[in-house]
Symmetry: C2
Subunit: 238 residues, 2 copies
């Protein structure tokens, strides 16, 4: 017997950006799986939903999803996690898996799916508010409007030339993980006269939220893991 | 005396994809502004929040935002709407403005803002689930993963060459308003061997929701206004 696995996006940080559907489901499942990067670490997604988890009958299970493993160890751990979820489902337990932001954008949940053998009706995904929607709402600026486009790009250790070429095609850009190549990004922004056309937000919706819009400040900072950059080639004055 | 204007994203259609924050605010404001395309039409955003609007003290106000006006009439109407909102705020009333999807992506609310004179602390934006996050959740497919990017592009009456050039740069594409140039899109998909790499969803989360993944079917259809297309150049098999 197998039941349903729900992938639930809990949004970027503010607990009240959970959807009504997300709240219903976290309180209906038998097991709620909380991804952690290290055993002993608190799950950030768990912190977000904490106040909305009202059913004491839900079994909360921390599950290890390491970020910096080598590829082989990583695969072994994920396959092990998938087996554990299948075991719960085999006992007839419905499972919820909470994930930061939206499950369909660069989430742990999507990567886990390829390790699971589920039929179409054993899986349901509940969308969540993305970090970049929250960023634009916080800045009170449109991400995009009229005929402009928006590109969402995950950064790695790119060099300045790569970033400059990428910025050629598009009007507005969300750069995920800007901390991966902050200095190259700064170089690209300066070379393209976009020094005033960016904002970086870290720890959005949290007590320690910080917004940087000054390139001189950006030069001096080591950006934390939970950072997102918005670049608007048309500028922020609207 | 002026109070706060809230722009509230109500998500793409399923009432339970409203956020907890959105639900709180629609029940706290003095006036809730419901955009309609024509006087006498029902506001779609209003239908979505209907069951979550529990406070009978909230004054609901339909406001006309025509879609097909000429530019001059359009500007006159929007300026008039802005004046009306400012009048409510001048009476010390907090106002909520509900908008489909997310307020920061191509929303009526963002366009209205340029007609309003508000200080920083008179405006709050509550993000909403986008149609394309809901699309990917419904299809149970990632929008984007690993190092892939995502481009969100609003279509107009583009020709096939324009669409083909646009599809060169990027891995995954969300095309808004595919009904604006469906035949050119079909031509581009065929020319680039992407006939099996698209999905179109209409009326997402509603009773009449429809998903099209067959290009022969697409050729025979007139897509409705509320349609979104996802193209994944790497295909849907994951």
């Amino acid at each position: 017997m197998k039941t349903i696995l729900y992938g639930i996006g809990v949004g970027p940080g503010d607990p009240d950006l959970l959807t009504i559907k997300g709240k219903k489901i976290i309180n209906q499942v038998d097991c709620l799986i909380l991804p952690v990067k290290k055993i002993g670490d608190k799950s950030f997604a768990h912190e977000i939903i904490g106040e909305h988890l009202e059913n004491p009958g839900v079994e909360c299970i921390e599950m290890l999803f390491p970020m910096h493993y080598n590829q082989e160890e990583f695969k072994v751990q994920w396959a092990k996690n998938a087996k554990q979820i299948e075991a719960y489902m085999g006992q007839g337990k419905t499972c919820g898996f909470i994930t930061l932001g939206d499950p369909t954008l660069y989430s742990t949940f999507i990567y886990l799916l390829s390790y699971l053998e589920l039929s179409e009706d054993q899986l349901e995904i509940v969308p969540g508010i993305t970090s970049y929607s929250a960023l634009a709402s916080t800045l009170k600026t449109p991400l995009t409007k009229w005929q402009e486009d928006l590109r969402i790009v995950p950064l790695q250790r790119h060099d300045q030339a790569h970033i400059m070429a990428m910025l050629e095609n598009g009007d507005n850009f969300i750069l995920m993980k800007p901390q991966a190549c902050t200095q190259a990004l700064i170089g690209a922004l300066q070379a393209l006269n976009l020094e005033k056309s960016f904002r970086v937000i870290s720890y959005i919706g949290r007590e320690n939220q910080e917004i940087i819009d000054d390139i001189e400040v950006l030069k001096t900072r080591k950006l934390p893991y939970l950072s997102t950059m918005l670049i608007k080639k048309g500028g922020f004055d609207d």
